[in-house]
Structures are given as structure tokens and as C-alpha cells.
Symmetry: C2
Subunit: 238 residues, 2 copies
């Protein structure tokens, strides 16, 4: 046996206070964070329920519990806002999620349209130690396979400087930075067209009434429907 102290479990990875919250609370916190975006409007019960696929009644009950746990402030009938503690919890889960997605893609070769579903489960079940081992293995990465920023170990996250592709004028463009990871079909479609985060993209033409948007990506032209273009984010110019 070495001279190492007995039963002192390393004590390293203790940046965040290791609050143990139920998986439910973690999912709600993440959903609220993502719905809150940056406009600091409170988030409605219905929006949370929709995103999590539960009834408004279930969400209402759960939000009250989150309020008791100091994860949200709840004004009945008006909505919820994350407390700083709730935001930390959300960011912790987002860090787990994105690290896992990248790890699955990079280390295990899982296709980028399938990593999301797996990460959605695993994010709640990895230890802080495993989180750290994954981050180290990946070289403390800044972005996940869909271009989304990964919060730092201290849970700082880069603020979003992108605009939706659907909001660009003809002639506008930039780097295709990120895309929603929640629709595998969509990801496979983009992949099959060779459209991936990091590519330069430019709007060539737009049709009115939500018509397709013609873009060029690395030389090729594509006509993208508005729902798709809404989920693709491009670096803000200027």
C-alpha cells in the first residue's frame, strides 16, 4: 500500500456542490432553460408540458415541487423562471448531454443523428468523475456534433451569436454553426447533402409565403424548406 491517505476519495472534482436531484427535476430544469432562451420572459406550464411530453396537469404539479426545491420561481398562472440554482442544474445536464454526444460520435463512431437519444438518457447517470474523464479524453471540447456549445467545467456557456438561416436576406450568409439535434430524419437529410456545421452557407434566393430557401453550400445549391431553415443557425455577420 502506498502512503496515500486512506478513504479520502480524491476530493478533486468538486467544483459544483454535487447536489443530487431526481432525474425528473433535471429534465424539467433543462427544458425550462432551453425554452427560456435569453428573452427573460417566464416560461408557461404548457410550454414545459409540451416539450417534455406530459400533460399540463403533471407539469403544474412538478413545477410546484421544483419551486419547493428552489430550482424555479413560480408565479401561479404566470409561469416559471429558473433560479440560479436551477440554471446551474440545467447547465450541468447540458454539459453532460453534449459531452456524451460528442464522445459517442468521436470515440464510438455513432452516427450524429442517433447520439441525441442516447445522451438524453445517459446525461442523468454519469458521475462527475466520468464526466471529467470524457472531457479529458476529448480534449475539453467546445462544441458537440451538432455545433452546440458545451458549457465549461465551471458551467460557463458561450452566448449565442447566431441567427436562424430562415431569417437571412438574399445575399446573406456565414458559417453554418449549429442545428437542432432533436430530429434524426433532418440530420440524416442534411448529412446526405453534405451540409454540416462548419460549412460556409449563403442565401441565393427566397420565395415568399414560407417557400423554399435556395442556398449554396461549398459550391452546391440546395432548396431548403422553411421549417428546416428555422432550425439551422448561421454565424451572425457584421
Amino acid at each position: 500500500m502506498t502512503a496515500a491517505p486512506e478513504s479520502v476519495p480524491d476530493a478533486a472534482h468538486k467544483a459544483h456542490p454535487e447536489r443530487r436531484h431526481a432525474e425528473g427535476a433535471e429534465n424539467y430544469a433543462k427544458a425550462i432553460y432551453q425554452l427560456q432562451a435569453d428573452d427573460d420572459e417566464p416560461v408557461g406550464t404548457g410550454a414545459v408540458a409540451d416539450r417534455l411530453g406530459v400533460t399540463p396537469a403533471s407539469a403544474s404539479a412538478m413545477l410546484k415541487r421544483l419551486a419547493d426545491d428552489n430550482l424555479v420561481e413560480h408565479s401561479p398562472y404566470r409561469g416559471v423562471r429558473l433560479t440560479p440554482e436551477g440554471e446551474q442544474l440545467a447547465l450541468e445536464m447540458i454539459r453532460h448531454h453534449r459531452l456524451i454526444e460528442l464522445f459517442l460520435a468521436e470515440v464510438l463512431g455513432m452516427p450524429w443523428d442517433r447520439v441525441h437519444e442516447e445522451a438524453e438518457v445517459l446525461e442523468h447517470h454519469i458521475s462527475e468523475e466520468l464526466e471529467e474523464l470524457i472531457a479529458t479524453k476529448l480534449g475539453q471540447p467546445a462544441r458537440d456534433p451538432h455545433g452546440d456549445p458545451i458549457p465549461s467545467r465551471e458551467l460557463d456557456i458561450e452566448d449565442d451569436r447566431t441567427v436562424a438561416l430562415s431569417d437571412l436576406e438574399v445575399g446573406g450568409g456565414g458559417v453554418f454553426e449549429r442545428v437542432s439535434d432533436r430530429d434524426p430524419e433532418m440530420l440524416r437529410y442534411l448529412d446526405s447533402r453534405g451540409i454540416r456545421p462548419g460549412a460556409a452557407i449563403e442565401v441565393r434566393a427566397r420565395d415568399p409565403f414560407e417557400g423554399p430557401i435556395r442556398v449554396s453550400v461549398s459550391g452546391d445549391e440546395h432548396a431548403l424548406g422553411t421549417p428546416l431553415a428555422r432550425r439551422m443557425r448561421v454565424s451572425a455577420e457584421r
Copy 2:
């Protein structure tokens, strides 16, 4: 889009019928499997309760539910035995567990005394697809970091041909095949002595009344307590 069929989700990894059971059922099935060993005595409620750290009352209730789900046969007051379905479920979890342990150790460099705890959680949360990616990455391995055999994809498991080190006579020995993974302290101790699965081991002397066992491992002598020796398994000779 390629000519690949739409929405047919690959259909590969479907060897086992993908029964979804609650995490509780998975843990109970695994516990019963491991208590059952090979002596096909039925397993008592108390033994299950002990191993899972719940009260006998809780185990009793749960065993009844497992019986309803056809995972065990339950004779009240006499004990339970796994059904074939229950055994498949147990082996599935054991495969997950041991693949995850090896993966964490080999790919992420997690020390062998810490992989068990992490695997204990993750085994319930990886998809069949991820299981397969891990197995492939590791080259369809046969043993985990503690020397325990990993069930095949078809859930066949090699039967145990080892004896406890504590049961060997002086002069007996063989290959140190495997060691219980449930006590991190013990694993660290063995590791610090350079005693690892695969090493040749021989009993040099024994003291009566559960006294220490003197063994030689790759040239060095060690005195091991009986509780430790009971958890170390050595290849059966002859």
C-alpha cells in the same frame, strides 16, 4: 437522400426480444442470478434483501411482482428461482455491466476499483446499439477487468471452472482468474501488491483457524487474510 428505406430503423441488433423491464426488476434478476450461483437451490427473500440493501418486506413485495412478470417462480416462504426469461434478463445486465467496466478501464483509463460502481448504474441505461458499439470497440472481449466472463451477445456465459483461493491446500495453485469487484479497498490493496488476474499464484503455507494464507505471486510472497482469499478465484487444476 439515398435509396435507403425510410424509417426502417436498421433492424440489426434484435437478437434478444428487447423486453423493457423496470430498473428494479433488472437489479433483482441480477441479484438472484448471482445468489443462485449454480447449486440450484431456490434463493431466499432475505438473501435477496441483503444483497440489494432493502428490507425483507420490500424484497418480498418485489419478488411477487417479478413472479407476476414471469421473471421468477415464487413459492411463498420457500424462495424464488429465475425463470428462463428472468435468467436472460440477468445475463443481459451482466453483459452490460462487464462491458461497461472494461470500456471504462480500457478506453477512459478509469481505475479498476472504481469501474464497478459506475457500471452498476449505467448497465440499466445503455441501448442495445451502444452495447454493440462498445463490444465492437473492445473486440468482443471475453472478460472484464476483474477477470469475470462477459456473456456473449447471445447471452451464453462460460461456466465457472475456478475454486476459491481459500479452499486450496498448501502446494496448490494455478492462475489467479478473477476477484470480486464489489470492494474497492480490496482491489486497491491487490493492485498495490501487483496481484492481478492472470498472475500465477501458489499457496505456500496456511495457518489454522482462518489464519493468513501465504502465497507466492510472480516471485513475491504475500500473506492474505481468509476473507480476501475467499473472494479470489483460481483456475481449477487437473
